[in-house]
């Protein structure tokens, strides 16, 4: 399969991720969209690693997955805390920093 297919798939995943982050109000969906973006990036890393026969790309993917897992853990913890105080996790209602 040509390289372009992988790249195009990655771009599609990334755009879906962006749109999900921007348009959805449910933080869980937002997190999932974030994962989608991470994985779009991962896909590119893996693709080019195998294309150029270099191992660094594969390794970086593990790092990204670890970091993403940690980030989701923190993010979900914040969401639980917000839910406890506000009884809602609608992102549009969490706007206390309004200037």
């Amino acid at each position: 399969m040509p390289l372009a297919f992988y790249v195009i798939l990655s771009v599609i995943m990334f755009v879906i991720g962006i749109l999900g982050v921007m348009l959805r109000r449910n933080p869980l969906v937002v997190f999932m969209s974030l994962e989608m973006m991470f994985n779009a990036a991962n896909l590119l890393f893996v693709t080019f690693a195998s294309y150029y026969h270099q191992l660094q790309g594969q390794i970086i993917v593990f790092f990204i997955m670890t970091v993403a897992a940690a980030e989701v853990a923190v993010g979900l913890a914040i969401m639980v805390a917000i839910f406890r105080t506000r009884h809602s996790i609608d992102l549009d209602q969490v706007s206390n920093l309004k200037g």
Binding site: V21, R25, L91, S95, G99
Partner: protein
């Protein structure tokens, strides 16, 4: 070359001792009790007087005097100014007068203020009075011992400050509760106008001579070519402006009568005996400059003479016992200024000294009269609540001769000395001025003679209104003589007023020889029988005229118009002080207030200065309001921003 047996090293103590008294009273004065605070202050001034005496004895042995440097003050480029005390015959004379009369007034004030704070209902303020009093002595000593114009200016401003503080001593009293505060403010502001003159003179001195030190300035001035005399004329005229402020001469005399709002010892010490003579001292000190500018000398002479006559006319029309003395002080200062102006410094200083004696005496006696009236009022009010009687209004007095015999006799002495009756001190000093004037300018001689006539007249009028005839109110009927702490200083001052003429007795001329060590004086004027006779006759005529109008027939009730009323508009003018205050109010104060309110406050301050400040704030606020709309708190919009930012950066990197 130091001579053995001199005490010049003690010079700083004439300043430090009163300062010590000040500090002691400031720290523990309240705990010392009223008498204690007064005694500390009197001791401080009295010991300063002893130091001044020692300095004077030292000067007998070493007449050239000495300059005692305490410390270096300023050193800017080539300009060096020291804290240095100049002890010479001129400054020693002033020291003796200030500390001597000052001590007597301090002692008197212990008794006076005791009653005054009680009468005004705030005994806590007793200590404060003596702190201010000692501060005044400190400042005045700084003024007279200064070795340079800058240090003199420090003292000059210091006495001005004390004057302000003491005029406003009862700052919450007076007309509408602000009268005294306003009087103090007026004195301060009018003096600022004069100080502007002195400052300009000092700037010019520095600019042209590069030094403030007296000797350096005078030497440089003498070395100047004649073409530079315009500068010296300017310096002396600006200095004259300073003198008109401090010594209450035309046109800046208006503050002195209002200054009588202060307690009576203040009027005696500051506004009669010492501070107001600072101007005369300044001109005597700067004599070498004035000698170089004859035009300025004649201006000074005319200012002095016109002030002498002008103030004397106003004094004739006043009813307030202290106001009469205030205008009399202005008038006598005019005599001194005129004398110094024409170079007769000895005559001027002589009159300064004798005037310090008898005017302090008169003010203190007036204070005694006021106290007597106040105690009479209190005794009277015990029975029934009557109308409040102004204890300073001479129309409410009368017949006090029998009620207050000691006060009467010392007052009589002071009044005769002031009127210039031989052989009291005022006769000799005034005569000396008249003799000098007579040889220089006939018109000024006549003006001063007229002033002398009016002096005798208003003093006679005052004596007869206060002490003569029958008591015109119940208060005067019940007036009481005061305790010895008040009358003893009066008696001492009365003796000084009688014997003061000896200081420069014709033929002996002690003061003349004394001052000659410091100042280059011309030959002393010979005692002239003719002038002496004329001035004595004039004075006696004045007193006689006063008796004709006020003494021959009893004055009756306080409401009866003054016997001078038939003079019509002229008397009205005198009574209203020639409307000088009203004219100043109209010509200066109101336009100034208008400018301050309409131009400076409304336009300049509120529109321009406030406008700039407000607009800066408004613009920043409006800008921030626009930007803060971005902070809408929506996480998703922040994410969009981030995306746009990343896209923009990528676009830049790709398409640059």
């Amino acid at each position: 070359m130091p001579v053995s047996g001199t005490f010049f090293y003690l010079a700083p103590w004439v300043i430090f001792l009163p300062a010590l008294g000040l500090v002691v009273n400031l720290l523990i004065g309240k705990r010392l009790g009223n008498h204690g605070a007064g005694i500390v202050a009197s001791l401080a001034t009295g010991s300063a007087f002893c130091v001044a005496l020692l300095l004077a004895f030292s000067l007998v042995r070493q007449p050239d005097g000495e300059i005692f440097k305490i410390a270096e003050w300023l050193s800017i480029g080539t300009l060096k100014v020291d804290w240095a005390l100049k002890v010479d015959t001129l400054s020693a004379t002033m020291m003796l007068v200030v500390a001597g009369v000052g001590t007597l007034i301090h002692i008197y004030a212990i008794g006076y203020m005791q009653k005054d704070v009680h009468h005004n209902g705030d005994p806590e303020r007793f200590t404060r009075f003596f702190v201010y009093f000692n501060l005044f002595i400190v400042a005045m000593m700084t003024l007279v011992t200064a070795n340079n114009y800058l240090m003199l200016f420090v003292g000059w401003e210091g006495v001005g400050l004390c004057s302000y503080l003491l005029i406003g001593f009862w700052f919450e009293k007076g007309a509408q509760g602000t009268g005294n505060a306003k009087a103090a403010k007026k004195a301060f502001i009018v003096n600022r106008v004069g100080d502007f003159g002195l400052l300009m003179a000092m700037f010019l001195i520095f600019w042209n001579f590069g030094t403030f030190e007296f000797r350096g300035v005078f030497d440089a001035a003498k070395a100047m070519p004649t073409a530079g005399n315009g500068v010296i004329l300017l310096i002396t005229l600006f200095m004259l402006l300073g003198v008109t402020g401090k010594s209450a001469q035309l046109p800046l005399f208006v503050w002195l009568p209002d200054a009588m709002a202060g307690p009576t010892p203040v009027s005696a010490l500051i506004h009669a005996a010492t501070m107001v003579t600072a101007g005369v001292y300044l001109m005597a000190r700067s004599l070498p400059l004035f000698v170089l500018a004859p035009a300025a000398q004649s201006v000074v002479m005319w200012v002095g003479a016109l002030t002498a006559l002008f103030a004397a006319t106003i004094a004739v029309g006043q009813y307030d016992i202290k106001k009469v003395l205030a205008y009399s002080t202005i008038s006598q200062l005019g005599f001194m200024v005129a004398a110094v102006g024409m170079g007769a410094v000895t005559a001027g200083m002589f009159h300064l000294i004798t005037h310090a004696f008898f005017k302090a005496l008169l003010f203190l006696s007036a204070g005694s009269v006021i106290l007597g009236m106040e105690s009479g009022e209190e005794g009277h009010h015990k029975g029934e609540p009557g109308e409040a009687v102004d204890p300073q209004d001479m129309r409410n007095m009368g017949g006090l001769q029998r009620r207050m015999p000691v006060t009467f006799w010392v007052y009589l002495t002071g009044a005769l000395a002031l009127s210039g009756i031989a052989p009291l001190s005022g006769f000799f000093s005034k005569d000396e001025i008249l003799t000098s004037v007579g040889q220089q300018s006939l018109p000024v001689f006549i003006i001063l003679l007229a002033a002398a006539f009016l002096t005798a007249f208003y003093m006679g009028r005052q004596l007869l209104m206060v002490f003569g005839g029958r008591a015109r109110t119940h208060v005067a009927e019940q007036a009481k003589e005061n305790s010895p702490i008040i009358t003893v200083p009066l008696v001492i001052l009365a003796v000084l007023s009688i014997l003061g003429g000896l200081i420069n007795f014709p033929g002996l001329n002690w003061l003349e020889t004394w001052l000659e060590h410091t100042l280059e004086l011309g030959k002393p004027e010979a005692f002239s029988i003719l002038t002496a006779g004329i001035s004595l006759v004039i004075a006696l005529t004045g007193l006689f005229a006063a008796w004709l109008l006020y003494g021959r027939r009893s004055l009756g009730s306080p409401e009866r118009p003054d016997p001078l009323t038939p003079m019509g508009w002229l008397y009205k003018a005198l009574e209203h002080k020639w409307w000088v205050d009203e004219v100043y109010q109209f010509v200066l104060v109101q336009p100034y207030r208008y400018i301050a309110r309409e131009v400076m406050a409304t336009w300049s301050d509120q529109e321009i200065i406030d406008g700039v400040a407000n607009d800066l704030g408004n613009i920043t606020s409006a800008l921030s309001q626009g930007w803060s709309a971005l902070q809408n708190g929506l996480v998703r919009s922040y994410a969009l921003m981030m995306l746009l930012g990343v896209v923009a950066i990528l676009a830049y990197l790709l398409f640059r």
